[in-house]
Amino acid sequence: MEQKIAVKVDDLTVAYNYKPVLWDIDLEIPEGVLMAIVGPNGAGKSTLIKSILGILNPIAGSVSIYDKPYKKQRQLVAYVPQKGSVDWDFPTTALDVVMMGTYGSLGWIKRPGQKQKKAALEALEKVGMLPFKNRQISQLSGGQQQRIFLARALVQNASIYFMDEPFQGVDATTEIAIINILKELRKAGKTVIVVHHDLQTVPEYFDWVTFLNVKKIATGPVKDIFNDDNLTKTYGINYKVSIQE
């Protein structure tokens, strides 16, 4: 079966000052996969996502979403940043943060209305945070904050989701809740790309994987390429994991 390519990255190179952080990345992500990006600290995992999304400016390279430049396809893409990237003492409520997911479709100046509020409440319901909708965001636990971020992306109703370490610092309950939502997204035909740190759970959670360490080491189905060989190439040590079939 010929799969559509959801995200295509060509010759992407990113550098801070002289040191390249990403070097000549070519990547094709088929539609409908749940993909992990794995690699050691400093491998450029977050940088890859941020460059694809235009938050960082690459030195070279291009990104296309369903064969069109990313800038024309923004509304198809949703982003879940790292939880630690914002100040959670900001004076606002959980519902308000989730509503921000609707701002993109609203465009400049227009205010969110009842329709947007309804969508936000539905997203809160999906992540199990409806009872906390009016809670000041600093009063939420780390796992709850992560769910709020996830809900904000769900509101965007996108086709492709980029998530930067959504499992970082959350408890087992939240991790299961999140992965169930990701699997639901995949079932609905969405493409989900996740920066992931826990190698043990890769075969269980994901069906596609990209190994990254400044250069792209490998990308493909987990069952084909998630092996000692690629792990060693990526992490530089003989990293043994048991692959659960």
Binding site: V77, P81, D87, F90, P91, G104, I109, K110
Partner: protein, 375 residues
């Protein structure tokens, strides 16, 4: 003139009314915009901008030779903006952190401004006296046209805030995410920074270069203590700023020769101190009270849990025990025992105690309750 006299005069006396209106409007607009600076963790930006404005005032005077306020403030605006963009440039192009960039621009521009001021004072031009009033401000020089200018800028600022409220809010909270939604964050950023520069420049005449940043920060810092909503915070900061202006002017007018700018800043500081101590949710006082109360509750719960342990060893939960066994237990005092009786958890008979049914079930669910309230 005492305060009472001031408030009766303020509606009739032209000069007093002008100054009071001017400082109130100034306080309101700097309070509003200050909220954004504080939430962006750019508190020092205001300080840098106001200091960067000084050479602009001096150069405007050197070029035109007049002391017309509007021309001097135009010079201040230009050099304030130059300073702001240099700060942005330094942060972007070098490895220096923003506090370093702010400090660098602040001292560089201020030093240059002072140099120009002393140069001007040495000139044989009779017109040159009085430029140094921009250092600490002189509210008494406000005239009606100045107040109109402030009112127009404030009105414009409110309009822009209302129009771009959603964009400002999301940029403050999560700039990267804002970019992915397709908003041009640079445009939003420049819009908000320009208004901050404009407000600062307008305040130079009244409060002066040195103290201007307090007008930006103090009302916002005070307002943050009282609310968890951005809209309410901006509104409150405007109110606090306006009142600082009015009270500051009143105090300085009623106590002869007190300079208005510093008094306004001190009044704003009083708002801050009061808010830090007395705000119900974030204030130090209530935090301390809650802390003590929580500790007491915990002590009470520990005693109750201990009693529950003892009661559990008997089939009949309300089997009486002597009070003496409690003496070995650390958290127990006569006070806690009395409180437990008051709550209906424990019955006393002579020197014997027994748990009531309510006390028993409460003790059994103590831990569950606590996790519930933490959810």
């Amino acid at each position: 003139m005492d305060l009472k006299e001031y408030f009766s005069l303020v509606f009739n006396d032209y000069t007093l009314r002008t100054i009071t209106l001017g400082t109130a409007i100034l306080g309101a607009v700097t309070g509003m915009l200050g909220s954004f600076a504080v939430l962006r963790k750019q508190s020092l930006l205001g300080d840098a901008i106001s200091h960067a404005a000084l050479p602009g005032i001096a150069i405007a005077f050197l070029i035109t030779g007049t002391k017309d306020t509007n021309i001097l403030l135009l010079g201040a605006l230009v050099s304030g903006l130059i300073g702001t963009f240099w700060i942005r440039g330094i942060v972007k192009k070098t490895h220096l952190k923003s506090d370093t960039a702010l400090g660098l621009i602040l001292s560089l521009f201020f030093g240059f401004g002072m140099l120009l001021l002393t140069f001007i004072q040495k000139q044989p031009n009779a017109n040159q006296a009085g430029l140094d009033k921009y250092l600490f401000g002189q509210a008494a020089t406000l005239v009606e046209s100045d107040v109109w200018l402030m009112a127009i800028v404030t009105g414009l600022c409110v309009l822009v805030l209302l129009l771009f409220w959603k964009e400002f809010k999301i940029l403050l909270f999560d700039a990267d995410y804002t970019k992915t939604l397709g908003f041009n964050t640079k445009t939003i950023d420049i819009l908000i920074t320009s208004f901050i520069v404009l407000a600062i420049v307008l305040g130079l005449q009244t409060v002066g270069v040195v103290l201007m940043s307090a007008m930006l920060l103090a009302p916002a810092a005070a307002a943050r203590q009282w609310t968890n909503s951005l809209a309410k915070m901006v509104f409150l900061a405007a109110i606090f700023g306006a009142f600082s202006g009015v009270f500051g002017t009143a105090i300085s007018a009623s106590q002869n020769n007190l300079s208005t700018g510093p008094v306004i800043v001190l009044v704003a500081a009083v708002f801050v101190v009061f808010s830090f101590i007395f705000s119900p949710s974030r204030g130090l006082l209530f935090k301390q009270i809650r802390f003590i109360k929580n500790r007491r509750d915990l002590e009470l719960n520990k005693t109750l849990a201990f009693m529950h342990q003892i009661a559990e060893t008997h089939e009949d939960i309300s089997h009486p025990h002597t009070i003496k066994i409690l003496n070995n237990f650390q958290g127990y005092t006569k006070g806690t025992l009395k409180k437990l009786v008051d709550k209906g958890f424990v019955q006393l008979q002579g020197n014997m105690w027994s748990l009531t049914k309510l006390g028993y079930t409460t003790a059994a669910n103590l831990y569950n309750q606590q996790t519930d309230s933490n959810e």
